[in-house]
Subunit: 346 residues, 3 copies
């Protein structure tokens, strides 16, 4: 069960164009495309007539023509053609969802359209297309529940064991984290002074000495984690050499046990270096592949172990634990507000 | 759940010979072969001893020897050998089913053998080996429920969208169909005057002008659809150039979500043209492959969508809707007649 | 459901060393390795913290370090390191199981450790490393329940049909077996006089005439079958030419429908012939591959047929039938003794 009164990233901007893209989001099979004017469209990926996927059909102008019997739906879902018939019943419509393009991503709202307020987008993602910053984004698919990835990102001590070839150093496991839990606000910060630089940091910024490394992790329900990263040579203010980027993580549930992992890495240095951009893309994809392998092994264990199994917790589990409580409460509220009102009067 | 008091096509005649052929029909695993005299034999494909498939054994004369412990069953199911034992209990027998060979196909009857009346075969299949007609038949397997294929064949408007490379033309979607529903008789006819010829028609009969095209679709429960097809150059009686064939479709359920699609295409023209026969085989297989891809996508949607989902209907859905009602009633009658009689007397 | 108060073979001795070996035994995912001193260690293959497999981590001395967050468990299961924390709760421990190395195999005990008595090992396996005998052992995995393999080995009449290329001859199906059933003791013996030698016997011992062949099959619950095999030229005492070996079969359940098949073939002749050893390994693996294919076909039938299906029995089924009864009683006793004691007072 997923929270539904929220925006999910459905695609990178560059993935959606003038062909039909099929993708399942939160257990709903969707089809996406752009109108001739460039507006993103998201529909349920099935023709209401015979239930075949609309993505097996084709675009005709701004409309989708089903590939089976040719029934055609406009971008607003309205049926505009049934071959061999003159009248079209109002029941013949496809289901569409509010979709917006922002910060390099296509976002979709899967519940009541009247509540699809853009102010509910996770605002920290503005870094994705921030003027003066160099963008980078990509995608991988993980065969594990999205909350396992939230857990992963809210306890970065694992970088010291899983990611020593890229972003890990010993300090990230040994330095105490400062965890802030305040209502739905969850933040984990680590200030690592005079520590060895991770390999990817050396390749990206050319560090030759120890560094001061800062990482500030911010969670936004249900599936967003952004990380502010900063490193400078120890004893300097970074005026000569610094590394600063945001890691934007959108962990969109595909199904109960699979996740679309959309990510961005906008950086605040070395802006004209296209080679650096591709090196960082490769380095981050390698890192997230390491996570993917571990998360998928974890998911396979969870698929098998009995339900009454209890895990034990470290101090580092405070933030991921709170994140899960927030989502549970969010889903509970959604279900409560969906209850019919009953007259309790005398 | 399938209708059981009926004949199902289990194989093309040419598939069954002096080796053991294993195939599941209506959820029953069967093994088929011919006796030395050429009679088709159909048995349950498991040894009653240790339940291994008999098809893993071998033919010994007219009998099947299990490949595990050598227990041997005659073509009538009677056990004739248990290695190491002298007496054979009457309980040791394999289950056999009535089987007949007719019109180029092997037919099997899966319920009460005393009711296995050959008059219950779908008589229109006689075209499969009609004197003066050129036969053609083949097989493909579809990972979708057989009723999706009945739906497909009773609404051929889809030819205009899915099969434009072979048998589709625009007329088949735009021309109103004449649907006849009378008890268990379901027929859909379309008379398309002065229309562009489909590509396969041009390749088969060399049309150079518009044609008059007739298609008459007849359903026989539970899984038979035959289509009478005729085309002549517009304004002629076809004396110089005509196309006429029957499409015989036997949609035998394998499991609840898979189908054995046996088909024939006997034609009434160009009888000595073996090259044409192979061209037609390739053209029909391509067409049915296009159906297969769409039906399997449809089945995957059906596997996932919730049960209370309702589809909407077009006028073209009358015949497929009636076909489903007929099968439901057929299954209900079978179950009713299987009820024990209870005394309601005073 | 499996018997748990017993030893299971978890690995060949040579499979377990200074790296982490993951294997599921009786539905429990385990990780195995040796300490620096060479002692075998068997643990549950999941970190109690985040439930990832410990086998995705690494050995650090005698301890296992989880590959995700670096939490480290000693070979006795005690947690000795949580990165970033100074105190370690006693709840942080991994689950370990008694393990012993005997006769060329690693054995594990999956229930109450205080009952893990080595006298409960199946003593006939001592032949695996018997002084004066030449050892041979290997492994294959079978996608079938382990009891199907017990059935297989307790009725060797199947050798005459499935294994004619290696160990089968006609006599093994036609010669009456002497079955001894006495409490939990199950033995099947066959004394085949003046029979044609199986092909593998000819290749192994160079027989040029008929042989006298003895096979004595002994079952030890829940999953052990050892077979004493002896053959000499008919009319001799084997002083000049003889074949003698034991077939040791440990059929460890992996899951309800898969089995780890560990086997040994210690022989009492031709001790310095390494080429013969490899020829025998290939011959036995081919034989067991033939069994594997049949058992897996059998399992697939069992996966599908309805539960009320009854099989019929031959005389040769006495021993496998008894073996199943013994295991059922064994499981029932285990469950009974696990019942809480209730006061039935006066």
């Amino acid at each position: 069960m997923f929270a539904k009164e929220c925006w999910y990233v459905a695609a990178l901007s560059r993935e959606v164009g003038r062909s039909l893209l099929s993708r399942t989001i939160a257990n709903e099979a969707l089809v996406m495309y752009r109108t001739e004017a460039g507006q993103p469209v998201v529909m349920l990926d099935r023709c209401p007539h015979r239930l075949v996927p609309l993505s097996a059909g084709k675009l005709v102008g701004d409309a989708v023509q089903c590939g089976y019997h040719g029934i055609t739906y406009n971008h607003d879902g309205r049926c505009i053609k049934i071959p061999g018939e003159h009248q079209i019943s109002a029941k013949f419509c496809s289901t569409t969802f509010p979709a917006v393009e922002r910060w390099g991503f296509i976002w979709v709202w899967l519940s009541d359209a009247t509540a699809a307020d853009e102010s509910k987008l996770p605002q920290d993602f503005h870094w994705g297309t921030e003027p003066g910053w160099t963008p980078l984004s990509d995608y991988l698919r993980v065969e594990g529940n999205y909350q396992l990835l939230v857990d992963n990102l809210l306890d970065l001590s694992h970088e010291a064991f899983l990611h020593m070839g890229t972003i890990g150093n010993a300090a990230v496991a040994e330095t105490p984290a400062e965890t802030t839990l305040r209502g739905d606000f969850v933040q984990v910060a680590r200030y690592m002074k005079d520590c060895g630089p991770p390999k990817l940091f050396v390749r990206a910024a050319g560090f030759t000495t120890n560094i001061d490394r800062t990482q500030r992790i911010i969670y936004t329900p249900p599936c967003y984690v952004v990380i502010e990263v900063r490193a400078v040579p120890t004893g300097t203010d970074g005026a000569e050499r610094k590394l600063e980027w945001w890691v934007l993580n959108a962990l969109t549930p595909e199904t109960d046990r699979t996740t679309h992992y959309f990510w961005g890495l906008p950086r605040g240095f070395a802006h004209d270096d296209a080679e650096l951009t591709e090196m960082l893309r490769a380095g981050i994809l390698r890192t997230f592949e390491e996570d993917r392998v571990m998360i998928e092994a974890q998911q396979r264990v969870l698929d098998k172990v009995s339900l009454d199994l209890r895990t034990v917790y470290t101090k580092a589990d405070q933030a991921p634990g709170r994140a899960r409580s927030i989502v549970s409460a969010m889903i509970a509220r959604e279900h409560q507000s969906a209850q019919p009102v009953t007259d309790t009067g005398s």
